[in-house]
């Protein structure tokens, strides 16, 4: 095992359980928003044990409900229908019912200044655009997955880095996106994803507000 891999294991070990759960929740959102989730993701989602702590504050109860609704929707959803939903919502012909991009939500247009700012910040953080991708980086799923990586790279990025990324690139528009997703015509399983995303983004907003 190389020294680099050992250091990386230490980095992963340094991420607390709570931080890991946050990162994995972002990963889950990314997995469901970037492509129609396959049976392995749906099975994993259904198997996640979610428990409400007896001392849970009000905001956590909302999140607990969102998890329950999402898992129930996953139980009910047939894989083929989820794929069809995903296609209608996010692919379509030219575009789907939803336009899951920050620039579009913030300016009404794709490939706008918010994307330019995001690209600058991604470069500064050390992220490179994956070769062969066809979509701009301000896609809701890509942002969630980036956030998961930032949280997991605790040796390199701290709370302030997470907070800045969230405030600059996610908070301004994602709650609205997830709200819209809940009322989309084509959404059924994705109604639950919308509720889940909205609750989680709200919780994260409150989390990040807890700073000096």
């Amino acid at each position: 095992m190389t020294a680099g891999a050992t250091e990386n294991q230490t980095a992963l070990a340094a991420v607390s359980e709570e931080e890991q759960a946050r990162a994995n929740t972002y990963s889950l959102l990314g997995a469901m928003l970037g492509r129609a989730p396959g049976p392995d993701i749906m099975d994993a989602l259904k198997a996640i044990p979610v428990t409400e702590s007896s001392a849970a504050p009000a905001e956590s109860r909302d999140m607990f409900k969102a998890w329950s609704v999402l898992q129930l929707a996953a139980e009910r959803a047939a894989p083929a229908s989820v794929a069809e939903e995903f296609h209608e919502l996010f692919v379509g012909i030219g575009r789907g019912e939803m336009v899951p991009f920050g620039s579009w939500y913030l300016t009404g247009f794709m490939m706008e200044k918010p994307l330019a700012v995001l690209r600058r910040d991604l470069a500064a953080l050390g992220f490179a655009r994956q070769e062969g991708t066809r979509e701009p980086e301000d896609h809701v799923g890509a942002l969630c997955e980036t956030m998961a990586m930032i949280i997991n790279s605790s040796e390199e990025f701290d709370f302030d880095d997470q907070q800045r990324f969230f405030a600059d690139h996610m908070e301004p528009w994602m709650a609205k996106f997830f709200s819209d997703l809940q009322t989309a015509d084509a959404a059924s399983f994705y109604t639950a994803v919308g509720k889940f995303g909205e609750s989680f983004i709200g919780l994260e907003s409150r989390y990040f507000a807890m700073s000096v």
């Binding site: 992963l12 492509r35 794929a83 000096v212």
Partner: protein
């Protein structure tokens, strides 16, 4: 520990308590999320994904989280 440090530590504790409100054991799911993307999976290759990856050498993190896939149609 200075007063300022104590204050910072107590905020960190508050944050941990806040996140602990709903205990989610997502551990096992991570493997599926990681492999789900690599498999990519829809026969017609329906992907609209944007991707980013760390250009630095966090190989194991990349392996765990690298479920971006190229769009294929």
């Amino acid at each position: 520990m200075s007063n300022r440090d104590k204050h910072k530590e107590s905020i960190k504790t508050d944050r941990r308590k806040f996140v602990k409100g709903v205990a989610v054991a997502t551990g096992a799911a991570t493997v599926a999320m990681a492999s789900g993307g690599a498999a990519a999976a829809l026969p017609e290759g329906e992907e609209t994904k944007a991707g980013t990856e760390e250009s630095k050498g966090y190989h194991e993190t990349q392996h765990v989280l690298d479920y971006y896939d190229t769009a294929r149609r």
